[in-house]
Symmetry: C2
Subunit: 479 residues, 2 copies
């Protein structure tokens, strides 16, 4: 709070005192003058960008176009290819200087059908969805409830033979989404724990904070050496129902999943650039992931990220002076099933780690950004401080806790500096990985605030005279 | 507002001045003394009932039991029979004096499967549900949008040949639910209008106020002489999506419904009584409907009505003095598909119209009751005024607009007086006829307020010395 107020005053002072100079040939006013960060003129331009973004409809139009015309675009599906085509065409139509694709190959998982029901005296349907990566199969068995993953992991081998393990853990609603960690561990590790105890199938309360009949999908993986068993999530109200019925006696459930792995698929990272005027081979990388789960239309996850970063880059292009460095927007392929796009990008660009000024991915919906953090290497740079100052009028304060966006993790491991623009995720897990992830759930005003933040961030990072500390990590790149 | 404040003062004054007398043999203190309505002692007892209800958990337990153990209970299904068995057992276990069933026969409609998708360049699934009574069939065609039912009804014969009519009317959110009339007309009349214009199928925006991927089901009927075509509702976000796509060009939809009529079924109205001490053959009838749609577990529609009225009657039984007249709780069969239970009740009890002091059905969820109205015949009775007085502390004010609950309509047509305890339905159509109609959507405190209102109403109506004007209607009964 203290820091925020201080930054706000600083921003106002700078805006009032900064001399204006927009000679496209003269780079010095935009370059840093003495503070080794960002020039006063660039800071002034950031103010202009910020205000312009709050009245810019581009992100909404991009998001509407993607979620409407392409709709759900699960990795490896026919819609994945349509999304790539759409993204290339959209970048070109919007006037980016350069647009290209880079291949991303991954195993393809297919959901064909899924259903479940309580059988017996209280027969009734359950709303389920297969976890991504689940094996198919039809299983009927008594469910055995576990309140926590730890309890399930403590179940002795053979103790669940012929049974369906039911993990009844409800994730916590938090602004920073930190309830997702404990929740999603049940999704990633639960199936293997169930199989080790002998269970025929795995059923879990969705990793979600809502009270709708929407199961939340998301990936799981089976530990090596285990025979995969069907794994699915039930909606929160369905989990409540199972818990109530279990208080009355044994509960039999029939689970039928038709899904599984089906060869390989090659999708594309779609990349577009606004070329820098002074150091065009140095890049500020922003973006989101182009794939979505199949249940919704991928508005908050992650059409919003694509729309926000595309609109931010475009706003920068529309200013009278180009940024010093290149702004690169990356629409990553297949984040959902294993960060494949981010990994492919890191591998393809490993030779130019030092040329990456900084990277930031928007992949936590479209709630307002309230904090920013930088990788340790860049946190104390003059440019970081000036970015924090320029973001303060948007209600954004500096933070120390955080991490790179999912598709930036691999690049960060290679040594690329990162920033995280932290969004309010209070409602994110009401919608995440459900049919309800649709355009109407996005607040257009919050979306604009995101664009403003990314435009300011990218612009200032691209014009900074100092670096955020990107440097190849020999040990890491060998992994 | 003025009336409410006046009633509140009156209630307080009566409560303070009323002599207490609970001799089960002496009826005079409970009977009216001079005002031809309800005695001061009965009014005092109403205050006690009202307060007791606000701490009574019975309704919640009944509602939890029904929605959990029986779950969805669509008329004619296996679960319909389970619901009847459950209701009989529950009434008996709760200690009602008399429990019986009366047959209700109706045509049986069955939903087997339903799906829809946009096909072509923006291929994506749609969340649909067949309208009750719909014919099955698989249809692919271009959709033609109509903003209102009037526009669709004006479409010339042959103008929709080979097309799917799409009614894109969104119902309005209103406290009194009055947005449902215009909305549900599109459901009842839309399919016939579409067929008359030559359409191969009918698709409508759900009659609902939510923004979830839940289609709302509900009955439709085809006009005589028309060949039924598949008729379904899409969720609000899906309707938004169709509307957005239509702005971009033609939209092809594939609709596949497997459903239809399948013979007859005989269910039961389940009836229970708290026997009156003085005029046991005269009855105050309260209740709800036992059937639900199949998509949810029928918590707000209408498990709540069953729970509220059951708990209210039971609370009355638990008082030191029995009511003068009998309190009858009626769990009506198959309201959803044509008010069959209410019609059967009216027919079976047509000879005792005059013995029905008054009837009231709770069938608008579990939101707080904010108003009460009576049929014209009883609106100005002294008892009605005193009921209004006793309900005022619950925030309930007299109203003149209103009508009998759906299962009371047929009895009202036969001449039975009715009351309507009007619930706040602001959120009702977020859930109505969807998978989201589940227990967690019910506010336990609002449920208790409903029980309090029904207990006070039934108790005072049962003890009134005057009538609400029930009288056989020769002309009406001949219908």
């Amino acid at each position: 709070m203290h820091v925020a107020r201080l930054s706000l005053s600083l921003a106002a002072a700078l805006a009032l005192s900064a001399p204006l100079s927009f000679d496209a040939q003269a780079t010095s006013p935009i370059m840093s003058e003495g503070n080794n960060g960002v020039s006063a003129a660039a800071m002034k331009q950031a103010d202009i960008l910020r205000e312009a973004a709050l009245h810019d409809e581009t992100a909404w139009h991009v998001l509407e176009s993607l979620t409407t015309e392409v709709g759900p675009r699960v990795a490896g599906s026919e819609a994945d290819a349509r999304a790539v085509t759409w993204m290339v065409a959209k970048f070109k139509a919007l006037g980016f200087d350069k647009v290209w694709t880079e291949p991303v190959t991954f195993p393809k998982w297919v959901r064909r059908s899924e259903s479940a029901a309580i059988v017996g005296a209280s027969a009734q349907p359950l709303h389920v969805t297969a976890l991504g990566g689940s094996a198919g199969g039809i299983v009927t068995g008594e469910i055995v409830r576990f309140a926590t993953l730890a309890e399930l992991e403590a179940a002795p081998a053979g103790s669940l033979t012929g049974k369906i393990a039911f993990l009844d853990y409800r994730m916590e609603r938090m602004k920073d989404g930190s309830g997702y960690g404990p929740g999603s561990r049940g999704r990633s590790r639960g199936p293997s724990a169930a199989i080790r105890a002998g269970a025929s199938a795995y059923l879990m309360r969705s990793v979600g904070t809502d009270d709708h009949r929407n199961p939340h999908t998301g990936m799981t993986r089976y530990d090596e050496g285990l025979t995969p068993a069907p794994a699915a999530a039930v909606s929160n109200p369905d989990a409540d129902q199972l818990a109530r019925l279990l208080k009355r006696g044994a509960v039999q459930v029939k689970l039928a999943l038709d899904c599984g792995w089906d060869g390989e698929y090659t999708s594309q990272n779609v990349i577009a650039e606004i070329r820098g005027r002074g150091k065009p081979d140095e890049v500020v990388g922003i973006g989101g992931h182009l794939d979505s789960w199949d249940l919704g239309t991928g508005a908050i996850d992650d059409g919003a990220g694509i729309a926000i970063t595309t609109a931010a880059a475009l706003l920068i292009k529309q200013q009278p002076m180009r940024p010093l460095r290149t702004i690169r927007v990356i629409a990553f392929a297949n984040e959902e099933q294993g960060l494949h796009g981010g990994r492919a990008y890191a591998e393809a660009h490993n030779a130019t780690v030092a040329k990456h000024q900084i990277m930031a991915e928007s992949d936590f919906g479209a709630g307002r950004i309230y904090a920013i953090t930088f990788s340790e290497s860049g946190r104390d740079s003059a440019a970081a401080k000036q970015i924090e100052t320029a973001l303060a009028p948007l209600g954004i304060t500096p933070a120390t806790e955080g991490g790179p966006g999912p598709d930036v993790i691999a690049s960060a491991q290679n040594g690329v500096a990162w920033a995280e623009l932290q969004q309010d995720g209070t409602d994110y897990f009401d919608l995440h990985h459900t049919p309800d992830d649709t355009l109407d759930k996005v607040d257009p005003e919050a979306l604009k605030q995101n664009v403003a933040a990314y435009a300011v961030f990218a612009w200032l990072a691209a014009n900074a005279s100092d670096s955020f500390g990107s440097a190849p990590k020999a040990a890491e790149t060998a992994r």
